[in-house]
């Protein structure tokens, strides 16, 4: 009930005199409620009464020859009395409340959930064409129409929805899954070598193996023939299925100019600030925001609003970092090229493959640096080739 007492207001009174508790009888007979009565000493009594009764209690006490003082006056009515005189504050509060209520009818921030195969900028562009943009009113948006329009404009999506909470639009997307390529089981095929190598393992599941572990094969050579032998020595063409692993040797090269210029940050940075109200930008610095020569600019935006509330105000910070253009040193260039070659090899061998040995060589010619990687890999070389496609 404490909140109720604060809502109606209360006052802590102190009575001083002879037998101050006798006033409580007078209060009770007049149905004036009181609580927390506490006698601090023989001649002093404190108690709490409703705020609107405090004045009457004071008059009653004085009429009985007691000293009465209101130590504390609290509650909403007291607060209202003090605020009532400040008309400008009341008007400003009312205006803020009205602006907040009206601003919630508009979208001030759009959050796009990441989606495979589609960039956020594509989604935002499509949303803008569908009428979902910062500063637009969301109350007349139709979810179904919006979804259909979005799916029509972005074919990579399977499903989309826009949920508006307050002034924040949350866009949830689901990408289209690629249909797996159907395999024609009735089409006869052989398994051939995708590249030359030294066979380490042969696992035929359907068909007849033509090579075994330890054989050396060339690219295109048949490894498992699509031919099945029956119990009574009958033959039939089938689609060969199996796994063949081999050790392969690969040589790939990369090159780059020796005089390649790169940007190096000097360490000096400078920040500039701006405010965005809705779609209007106000720079808090002199001059324009074009990035000067010799600087790189990174801009970040942050919303200025309490948690859970979206307001049309965003703070922009632009960080300008000075850089100098220098030549990349030869060791750095070589390291970069070697890293690129290693990444290419890893993609080439696939998830079930492994690069077992790797070495690099470098050479220079005509102002170019050439790096060559010699790799030994353990990988699958099985490739299904239908009989219809064979020469």
């Amino acid at each position: 009930m404490t909140w109720w007492r604060y809502l109606t207001g209360f006052a802590v009174m102190e009575l001083r005199g002879v037998a101050p508790e006798r006033l409580l009888t007078a209060l009770a007979s007049r149905s004036i409620g009181f609580w927390d009565a506490d006698k601090t000493d023989e001649y002093t009594l404190r108690f709490t009464v409703p705020l609107h009764e405090a004045e009457f209690v004071g008059q009653l006490a004085e009429s009985r020859g007691l000293e009465c003082e209101a130590l504390v006056r609290k509650g909403i009515p007291r607060l209202w009395r003090s605020v009532k005189k400040r008309k400008t504050l009341l008007i400003a509060l009312a205006l803020c409340a009205a602006l907040l209520a009206v601003s919630r009818l508009f979208i001030w921030s759009i959050e796009v959930q990441p989606c495979e195969g589609v960039t956020e900028s594509e989604i935002r562009a499509a949303l803008s064409e569908c009428g979902v943009d910062v500063g637009r009113q969301w109350t007349n948006l139709s979810q179904d129409l919006l979804r259909n329009e979005l799916l029509r404009r972005v074919p990579e999506l399977r499903w989309a929805t826009v949920n508006v909470r307050g002034s924040c639009a949350e866009v949830i997307l689901r990408p289209k899954r690629e249909k797996p390529e159907p395999v024609n089981e009735t089409e006869t095929a052989d398994i051939t070598a995708s590249q030359s190598g030294y066979v380490t393992e042969v696992l035929p599941m359907r068909g007849t193996a033509r090579v075994s572990a330890g054989d050396t094969v060339l690219a295109g050579e048949t490894l498992i023939e699509g031919l099945a032998t029956g119990r009574f020595e009958t033959h039939g063409a089938v689609r060969a299925i199996g796994e063949v692993r081999a050790r392969c040797w690969t040589e790939i090269s990369a090159c780059a100019p020796e005089t390649l210029a790169v940007k190096r940050e000097s360490g000096r940075t400078k920040s500039r600030w701006a405010l965005i109200f809705g779609k209007r930008r106000i720079n808090l610095f002199k001059g324009c925001s074009i990035c000067p020569v010799g600087c790189a600019k990174i801009a970040t935006e942050a919303a200025i609003a309490p948690a859970g509330v979206s307001l049309p105000i965003r703070l922009v910070r632009e960080i300008y970092t000075e850089y100098e253009t220098t030549r990349q040193s030869a060791p750095e260039l070589r390291e970069e090229l070697e890293a690129e070659l290693a990444a290419v090899l890893t993609r080439q061998v696939g998830e079930d493959g492994e690069v077992t040995a790797l070495r690099y060589t470098q050479s220079r010619a005509n102002g170019m640096l050439y790096v060559t990687a010699y790799a030994e890999c353990e990988q699958s070389i099985a490739e299904t080739v239908p009989h219809s496609m064979q020469p």
Partner: protein, 90 residues
């Protein structure tokens, strides 16, 4: 006063009516050793941490104890809590 009292008692006995139904007689209820409710209150005479005196119809009620505290009070009722040592009627 004496004749009225006797008449009240005689009428209560004759008509089998409880004594408290015949007039504004006080009722004191003690709960445990920590709460006293006095009904039929006329006025609160004295209030201290160790003694509360209330005047009732035909006398006074004195509550003695420790840490006595006025819980609630209305025109005819008084509720006191604390460590109650004794209740006296005068």
């Amino acid at each position: 006063m004496k004749n009225t009292e006797r008449a009240d008692s005689r009428a209560a006995r004759r008509f089998a009516i409880p004594q408290e139904g015949m007039g504004p007689s006080p009722r004191i209820t003690i709960s445990g050793g920590s709460h006293v409710l006095v009904e039929g209150l006329n006025a609160l005479e004295e209030y201290a941490e160790d003694k509360v005196t209330a005047s009732v119809h035909r006398g006074s009620v004195i509550i003695r104890g420790e840490g006595l505290h006025l819980d609630a009070m209305s025109e005819h009722e008084l509720s006191v809590s604390g460590r109650i040592w004794g209740v006296e009627l005068e």
